[in-house]
Symmetry: none
Subunit: 415 residues, 2 copies
């Protein structure tokens, strides 16, 4: 089953916004045997929208648009495509009512703005695609010959949510091919890309029917295995065999598969032991706490923490001896260990974890260049630490430091 | 001057690679008055490449392709487009010689692989575009009517380098129009998109020669003003006039222009007053501290903070009275105020700022639904607070809460 995507918006065409919706849709669709055969990106112009959608309909008969459904005057998708189908526009009272309820539920003052009513105008004969993630509903328009256009909002959260909730099930129900493109990603951390390749040796080029891509990033090096155009059960078997062979060589560094997140794994490891954790952060300034608490339900495990950006906080609120900082420096394993133990005992929890480092761009020295960081973990008095370094800009170095800290917690717990 | 882009590659179409080249090119080109009017993304198929390029040539006569110039069998760009122009392929000895020299210079063993020779095949009558950033040269092919296609490699480093070195100067030399596309963004926060539209009233549709786009996100609603196809001095004048007119209506909510970041503005406001700040975070778990310390050089202003995720931390480490939490709840303006004052006095700084809220997905009540949050600011004993709510998932709600907290700090300082 083939579809085309049309991404709409001057912002995309001018290069102010990167289109991530199209790639997201393609990946999700491939897993269901639905193939994106072409994408077009056009501006907020009624003529261009109509032309691009018409061409795609003529080629493929199945078109998904993103963008141009907002309440403002530059949102032209619905009327342009309605005109292409020879349909007028009409007000849908159910949408007005839903928007009204939403407005009131949020406790916003006054009445629903008039601009919002434009969002309730739909092409005659269209089907509304519910949007549980925002105010603009999606639209499904189909002609007598079965050619269809699905119009989704361009806001990535809404586009993604609706793709999974509504759009893919609907497309899938219309026709399926029996073959799939499927991937499985093994996530590693604490090892460089070239070292992974070395560890894999000949395996890197000899996986039966499976391609291997190295995807290095702040979280580590992801290894993506992909099979294409085979039945689902064959795909599963090939991927499982390849994953087992790869794991065999790099198991030490693999922390999970696909969307696995070290924050989630650390929280699970702590929860299984009925342990609580507190963080002590210097150069990351709260990023580790943010990552742990990004996980819904983390409050049964995460107690709190201290952002010890200034060294005075390390001494006063974490009990790091001034002599430790004087002797080893604020960026040192000794200081990281004292921070971890300090936050553990002062907050009365089982586990303390700390980060101190040089995130840059300034502050580097010959001995401790930008990218150097130390992490410490104290589990009920047993303390370990690690000094390492990461590449990238300030943001990426801080991300790498949080990942190293989480990895060390997991190892300290024996997971 | 209008151009179209055609991005080529199965990886793009499958969604494994996000196309950043197209956005890069559009931004660079706009500054020179060259406008991207449409983009297409297609797979590694000779027919699809020829069809997409033919359509773009028929519309615009000026096409840039990226991708499909590598040494492998799936790289079909050159022969497909040569066929479209009715040209054969021929071996270019200068490219062979350059690749050979490169191979030797790197000290790679043996002879240049045969596969690489395919990269030296070019369409008859083509012009070579030098690539100082990789091995695949670019190709410029033009017909008797002056319609042209420029083929560039898809590797972002190479595409970007060649765009600046070679391609844009060449396009510009062909038809310098003397006109530009230019934008200016007014950044607002604390107001909904539809409310901005209402506040702007008739102005939203009546800005002289300037288009207006609403870009809502967690940071607030950005208002992008764009002028097209006018001389640079006219562009500046039109943008300045439009920005002044828009500001006039929504000044209360505008915090800056273009890439302005509230973290940076708050740090500057504090630095100008020689003030230090500390944060107290509940639902955001460190995100506010992370944002403030994401700015290089923030250490002269940011002292530290307390992540008070568990209510016990609010009481023990911030001195929030248990009675306050009991009477008003942890998510309340009263608690936010006590947190801000607590962190300010305990850390001995000038400004304390706090966040407490319901980030979801669980934990909401009728009175305090998911998305409700309270922020507090204490500036040397003068305390203010705000209760509001934000839409989105957990991450976005937390981002909105940090933005609201930063905005309140700025207002509390009188900026």
């Amino acid at each position: 089953m083939n579809v085309e995507l049309v991404s709409i918006g001057d912002e995309l065409l001018l290069g102010y916004t990167i289109d991530t919706n199209a790639a997201f849709f393609a990946r999700e669709a491939a897993a269901l045997g639905i193939r994106v055969v072409r994408r077009a990106t056009i501006g907020d112009s009624a003529d261009d929208i109509a032309a691009a959608v018409r061409e795609a309909l003529d080629r493929t008969g199945a078109v998904i648009t993103s963008g141009g459904l907002g309440p403002t005057a530059d949102d032209l998708t619905k009327p342009s495509i309605a005109a292409l189908f020879g349909r007028g526009m009409c007000l849908d009272e159910s949408i007005v009512a839903a928007m009204h309820a939403r407005w009131k539920a949020r406790g916003w003052p006054g009445e629903l703005p008039a601009a919002n009513r434009a969002q309730a105008m739909i092409p005659e004969g269209a089907t509304i695609l519910m949007n549980a993630h925002g105010s603009a509903p999606g639209i499904w328009l189909e002609d007598a010959g079965g050619r269809w256009v699905a119009m989704l909002p361009g806001v990535p959260r809404e586009f993604r949510g609706m793709t999974g909730d509504t759009l893919l099930p609907r497309i899938r129900a219309r026709g399926a091919t029996g073959t799939v493109v499927r991937s499985l990603t093994l996530r590693t951390t604490g090892i460089a890309e070239s070292a992974v390749a070395d560890a894999l040796g000949p395996l890197a080029k000899a996986l039966d029917g499976v391609s291997l891509a190295y995807l290095p990033g702040w979280a580590g090096v992801d290894l993506r295995l992909t099979v294409r155009d085979v039945p689902p059960e064959v795909a599963s078997a090939l991927l499982a065999a390849a994953a087992a062979a790869v794991r065999d060589r790099v198991a030490r560094w693999v922390y999970g598969v696909d969307e696995a997140d070290l924050s989630v794994l650390v929280l699970e490891a702590l929860r299984a032991r009925s342990m609580h954790i507190a963080v002590a952060e210097s150069c990351t300034g709260g990023m580790l706490g943010m990552r742990l608490t990004a996980v819904p339900g983390s409050s049964d495990v995460v107690h709190g923490g201290v952002i010890a950006y200034d060294d005075a906080v390390k001494v006063r609120d974490l009990g790091v001896p001034e002599s430790t900082i004087a002797a080893h420096g604020a960026v040192s394993e000794a200081t990281a260990r004292a921070m971890a133990s300090g936050v553990r005992t002062r907050m009365g929890v089982d586990v303390g974890v700390s980060i101190t480092g040089v995130a840059g761009p300034g502050g580097g020295t010959t001995e401790k260049p930008v990218g150097t960081f130390c992490v410490g973990v104290d589990v009920r008095g047993e303390v370990c630490s690690l000094r390492t370094s990461g590449v990238g800009d300030r943001h990426e170095i801080r991300q790498r430091a949080t990942q190293a800290a989480l990895s060390l917690v997991r190892k300290a717990l024996g997971d």
